[in-house]
Symmetry: C2
Subunit: 358 residues, 2 copies
Amino acid sequence: MTRTLPDRVRTDQLIAFCTAALVEVGMEHGAAQAAVEVLVTTDQLGVFTHGVRNLRLYVRRLREGGLDASAAPRVVKEGPSWALVDGGSALAMLTGKLAMETAVEKAKKTGVAFVGARNSCHFGAAGVYALMAARRDAIGLSMSNDVPSMTAPGARSHILGTNPLAFAVPAGEEKPVLLDIAMSTVAGSKIYQAISQGKPIPNTWIVDGEGVPTTDGGVYPHAASLLPMAGHKGYGLALLIDILSALVTGAASRGEVVSWIFGDQTVPTGHGHAFISIDPGAIVPIEQFKQRMDAMIRDIRRQPKAKNSQRIFLPGEMEWEKFDEAQRLGIALPDDVAESLALLAKETGVVAEPYFGH
Amino acid sequence: MTRTLPDRVRTDQLIAFCTAALVEVGMEHGAAQAAVEVLVTTDQLGVFTHGVRNLRLYVRRLREGGLDASAAPRVVKEGPSWALVDGGSALAMLTGKLAMETAVEKAKKTGVAFVGARNSCHFGAAGVYALMAARRDAIGLSMSNDVPSMTAPGARSHILGTNPLAFAVPAGEEKPVLLDIAMSTVAGSKIYQAISQGKPIPNTWIVDGEGVPTTDGGVYPHAASLLPMAGHKGYGLALLIDILSALVTGAASRGEVVSWIFGDQTVPTGHGHAFISIDPGAIVPIEQFKQRMDAMIRDIRRQPKAKNSQRIFLPGEMEWEKFDEAQRLGIALPDDVAESLALLAKETGVVAEPYFGH
């Protein structure tokens, strides 16, 4: 497929095109743009697996009924420091954004807040929601459950999703610390990469069909399960994430969740999420907090390096460098993302080229 | 050293003896017993590295001034959903207990609460505090910072503590789910064990003096650092734990913390902790929550087992089995714990035998 998009695209261009595609399948312009902005921020941070690349798949669900283009997530129950958001099968970026923003609002009043979400779907990169808190001088934690694809110590097959967890903490002059991780040792994409290169994989990545760790990536995914990071530690944390995302919110849990990619496209997936925001400024003077964050970041950065290592990165530092570059020069969309957008254009009838002119 | 304690000791006997030892070094009886109960619960759960075995070391600090026998931790600042506890260099079990109980009280009113603690010390096992929440039908998270002993990707040496994190979630008929983990791949004790058995260690446990992963346990700890669990994931989470425990609370952070074992015994260690409690009953009916917890636990337990695996354990299930056995038959204190208690008796002049008669 010949690449029709330029090597780098401007953020506003990308947002405009993607928004038009969502409007084409029935979404209201403001909601469409809000959802797209979440995905484009993800791409700016270089997390292309979770950005606009997936828009095509969301559009498929919107068309087949598993997502509702006209739905708007709303707070259905709340207290001073908590809220429950019902996504109503809206695009999950809207649900996640409302939930995290509600958590920050409440944390600014009471010091801390928990907001759960149900009737949602795949919400993209957990880190983007955590970042919404950090941008408002609050600490943000963000998590979601997903379809089981990961085993547990002693188990043969799927027990829990890879259930992502992210946090972001604001600093002063330094960029927020930002971590966004799945509870599996690696993502499935790393295994496909090893297969395509004909390489064996470490025996900490997957188990085979008998639940035994293997170095043969070829059994994935049809006869394999991902291994949790750090064994029982990743298993336990993934369980907590499912509990907070689903059992505390009334969302689908574990096997009740429908796969957003491979599952029935006509029914809601039922994902749940959980968001926590803490306002450090309620507890210590915010300027003191930020100064200590800056000092910590700088002190870690200047610690002695390991042999053959040039740098110690803070969590999120690699992503911020990509973000800055994307803002300066435009986002360098990888070919697979460009291809997905070309298909999106074709499938929605929204011609891409006019959006990316100069 | 001949073992003077019986093979199994009753909980009330162990509490009475240890309380007497703390009273002997100047603590008020009620406070002494409250602190000891935290440690004995830890031993009941089988986590002997963090129970009464360490009492001798706490007594040393109490005598030399680094801990204050007459201090009482107190809430120095608070809002509806948060509080800041100043430990005042009291025994950290008291600080942790007050902080977690305050978090649960507040969560019961507002749905969620964050309580930070400063001017504390080594608080033992993080899981015991999380459990205090679960016993009151609330979710508990508990964490602490510590002296740096763990490296980070790209670094040569110590960047962060192994910073423990625990959570506990109440169920209905089933025992609470309970996870208590450090952010390093393994604890130092596992390395000593491998050395004593003359075995090489996996290259994911430590780095040598140049920051390079090694299978030679012999370089630990003088010329080595622990590796974070799951690489950048454990590093990032350990950083978050230090931020919540210290930067949000005003406690000592990273290298500012004094080693409670090897550091100056006459000065406070300055540890910080953080506790979060979430009341699921504020958000969904508590009976529904508990039923779903029970159903989840039972469903995981009956999933197909891996080859050569007999069981899938829920987080905390092994500990609960030890707990039940300890309640039924008494705690089977390992020799090193019995020896530590014998030394405690000798050093405080509190004769042990009368406490453990039948």
